[in-house]
């Protein structure tokens, strides 16, 4: 089968995407497929039209590749592709849209308020900050609505830290959200097709728990797969993740990030195209389920070629 691997692009997560893509290409070659690597640029459509791949493996992260843009193009060109469809990608990429959908489905997500820059620049939204800080309490989390990894995510421990955190978050997107901080265990549930894979827990080994960078540095965070959960916790966590997957309209695969607090799981976000590098969580979870990376890639391809529809 001729498989186009779409990777790179202009997003801030280009580096991770290139690593994900390279690893997928290796696996596809080992599986005996004809691989067409594409570092996505202005000639994407031309190349896809000229090459007519049987399927596109989307190994892109961040804006452009994970927000539905590339998926929309592939839908127009009639090329089957891996991972969620354009609409689901758009909902996953935008945390505000995603949280709306999660809440609408009756699932718990930490309370939040979203603002765009115009609200502050033109409508004096700053005057409302005090009120929402009272509602959310401290510390609170400030995030760009669209953004990957930990980029631009800041904790504010007091009102004085909020404006600076907002300035940082607005560096990544025109819309940001302020979210209640939920204390608990950080879990990630990868879903393949409609099967939840073993749950991954991120455990910060050293440094400030409010330092997001630490979470993505090898050696500063340990990942436990499968997470040490009671049967009851496991059920609650996977149900919440599956509910989110469905609420967002995901197909193929996705990774749901959540916090397990003393009062149960709180859903944070879904990643439509989780990383596929050798330190990424989805491959780790698949491996814990007994799937090698090749088997994972093959399964993802199968899912792309036999769409399941929205569950």
């Amino acid at each position: 089968m001729k498989v186009a691997v779409l990777k790179g692009g202009r997003s801030l997560e280009r580096g991770v995407s290139l690593r994900s893509g390279a690893r997928v290409e290796d696996a596809l070659e080992r599986l005996g497929h004809e691989v067409l690597p594409i570092d996505v640029g202005a000639d994407l459509v031309k190349r896809l039209v000229a090459e007519r791949p049987d399927v596109a493996f989307v190994a892109m992260h961040g804006i452009g590749g994970e927000d539905g843009t590339v998926q929309e193009l592939l839908e127009i060109l009639g090329i089957p592709f891996t991972g969620p469809g354009a609409a689901a990608c758009a909902r996953c990429m935008d945390k505000v849209q995603g949280k709306d959908a999660i809440e609408l489905a009756g699932l718990p997500t930490p309370q939040w308020f979203a603002f765009n820059q115009t609200a502050f620049r033109e409508f004096g939204a700053a005057d409302a900050l005090g009120r929402l800080e009272e509602t959310l309490g401290f510390p609170l989390v400030v995030k760009p609505s669209r953004g990957g990894s930990s980029l631009g995510v800041k904790f504010a421990r007091s009102a004085g830290e909020v404006p600076q955190a907002l300035v940082s978050a607005f560096s990544y997107d025109d819309r940001v959200l302020l979210e209640r901080f939920v204390d608990g265990r950080e879990l990630a549930v990868s879903i393949l097709g409609d099967e939840p894979l073993p749950v991954v827990e991120a455990i910060l080994l050293e440094g400030d728990r409010y330092d997001f960078e630490a979470r993505y540095e090898i050696g500063r965070t340990r990942f436990d797969v499968p997470a040490d959960l009671s049967a009851e916790e496991h059920r609650a966590v996977t149900e919440a993740a599956l509910g989110t997957y469905g609420a967002l309209g995901c197909t193929g695969f996705a990774r749901i990030d959540l916090i397990l607090a003393s009062d149960g799981p709180w859903l944070l976000e879904a990643n439509a195209i989780p990383g596929l590098t050798d330190t990424s969580l989805l491959p780790q979870a698949a491996e814990a389920a007994g799937l090698s990376f090749e088997q994972l890639v093959e399964r993802i391809l199968d899912l792309a070629l036999t769409p399941q529809g929205v569950s």
């Binding site: 801030l12 080992r30 980029l151 300035v167 940082s168 607005f170 560096s171 797969v225």
Partner: protein, 452 residues
């Protein structure tokens, strides 16, 4: 339309996390401090062709005459092919050392050729000094900010890096003295003090003569080693030349590091170290273990190049080009950066260090700047402890004047947006002059950068 075939012999990546763990179990402890980060990923994007990168530290190699390059290489091929393709002595060729003596002589230094080792770039010289002197946990003192490329080297030898703030006259030697006293009271003795005294990378500042004398005196009385890294000494665009620490000290307590990268070419990977004989003996053993010898071919190239006796003229040309670029950047900063920003106005070298209001994190700003197709180095890269987050390093040697103007204009625009946003968030109209103290990582320069 170009059909670029992908390389077919790429190393295969490994199958799974078990593999990763298998390797990780074998890793040396020192790899634990070698860190990758989201910011490093961000820097990967600066290589996009549409991005004006003020992030690099690249000298301009475009004016080096190709015919001269060709003539020298031809001469080497015709006259010394066998030797140029052979191993050479670990210390480097005597002829290369003669060239080094010329370069150092131009700054008033006259070392014994036996004290010199030719290295694979100045970076290897730093590495070899660390290899020779640092045990895990040893204290090494650096400037704050310091050369970002020295940090991974120091960390890989597990040094305990302590940074001493700079001001417009370079490392604050008074603060260093206090630090030394404090360390002494803890029973700790720093292995060496690393300094780029002239046109420092990244801050662009130059250590005053008074401080140079005091530093050398301290080294002598306390029997400490100073590692003087001087890649830019000959790239002076204004002011009076100052004697290198090596010259002031005579070479007893100063290890000197030099390079051909900034006066000829970084591609030839040729640098050197000068050290007292007992230290040099160990450095040579370290070099032998690392790579036996520095490239013979490029040493021959330098020999031929210096034989033309044009090297100083070429440096003069570079000085002219860089002076104009520095002036262009300073002017562009005045025109485009907000009144609250400060920056250094270096008398030489390749870099300007700009400091923004303390509510702007330059790592985050970089994301916004990249969307505007411009890049810089966030200040955090020059600190071991996360400070520097309101500063940035700007390079003016690697791009032409039009690009400098446009690049600074783009950065100025994204900063202005953040300043305005902060004003809207706090209801504060940004002050034309911020309070003097604020966060500790604000580089204390108010002198040079007062924008109109």
């Amino acid at each position: 339309m170009a059909e670029v075939p992908e390389p077919t012999h790429r190393r295969r990546s490994h199958a799974g996390t078990r593999d990763l763990e298998r390797y990780a179990g074998l890793f040396a402890e020192r790899t634990g401090v070698m860190r990758s980060s989201a910011m490093r990923d961000l820097m990967a994007i600066t290589a996009r062709p549409e991005v004006i990168s003020l992030a690099g530290g690249l000298p301009d190699t475009s004016t080096f005459p190709p015919q001269s390059f060709a003539a020298q290489m031809t001469r080497i091929a015709q006259e010394s092919a066998a030797k140029a393709l052979q191993y050479g002595p670990t210390e480097g060729f005597e002829e290369t050392k003669d060239c080094i003596l010329e370069v150092m002589g131009a700054e008033g230094m006259l070392p014994d050729p036996d004290d010199i080792i030719v290295t694979t770039g100045g970076q290897q010289a730093i590495d070899l000094v660390c290899k020779t002197l640092i045990d895990p946990g040893d204290v090494v003192i650096c400037e704050a900010p310091t050369y970002p490329g020295a940090i991974p080297t120091l960390c890989s030898y597990q040094a305990d890096v302590v940074q001493v703030e700079c001001d417009e006259d370079g490392m604050q030697v008074e603060v260093l003295e206090e630090l030394l006293a404090e360390l002494r009271s803890e029973g700790r003795r720093p292995k060496f003090i690393y300094s780029v005294p002239s046109f420092q990378n990244p801050a662009g500042v130059t250590m005053s003569l008074q401080r140079r004398r005091r530093l050398v005196e301290l080294a002598r009385t306390e029997e400490l080693l100073v590692v003087e890294d001087n890649p830019y000494g000959l790239l002076r665009y204004g002011g009076e030349p100052l004697p290198p620490l090596y010259q002031l000290d005579g070479g007893d307590f100063v290890i000197y590091l030099g390079t051909f990268s900034k006066i000829l070419s970084p591609g030839i990977r040729l640098g050197w170290a000068v050290a007292p004989p007992p230290v040099m003996e160990k450095i040579v053993l370290g070099k032998q273990a690392a790579d036996l010898c520095t490239s013979t071919l490029t040493q021959y190239f330098v020999r031929e190049y210096f034989a033309e006796r044009r090297w100083q003229l070429y440096v003069d040309d570079l000085v002219e080009i860089y002076r104009r670029r520095r002036d262009t950047m300073v002017e562009a900063l005045r025109d485009n950066f907000p009144a609250e920003a400060t920056w250094t106005e270096p008398e030489g070298g390749l870099f300007i260090w700009a400091t923004l209001p303390d509510y702007i994190d330059t790592s985050d700003l970089l994301a916004k700047a990249l969307r505007a197709d411009v890049a810089f180095v966030p200040g955090q890269a020059a600190y071991v402890d996360g400070r520097g987050s309101h500063s940035m390093r700007l390079n003016f040697s690697g791009v032409d004047e039009d690009e400098i103007r446009e690049g600074v204009r783009r950065i100025g625009k994204v900063i202005a947006e953040q300043v305005e946003l902060y004003g809207a968030l706090t209801g504060e109209v940004p002050l034309p002059e911020p309070e003097e103290e604020s966060a500790p990582n604000v580089f204390p320069f108010r002198k040079a950068g007062e924008a109109g």
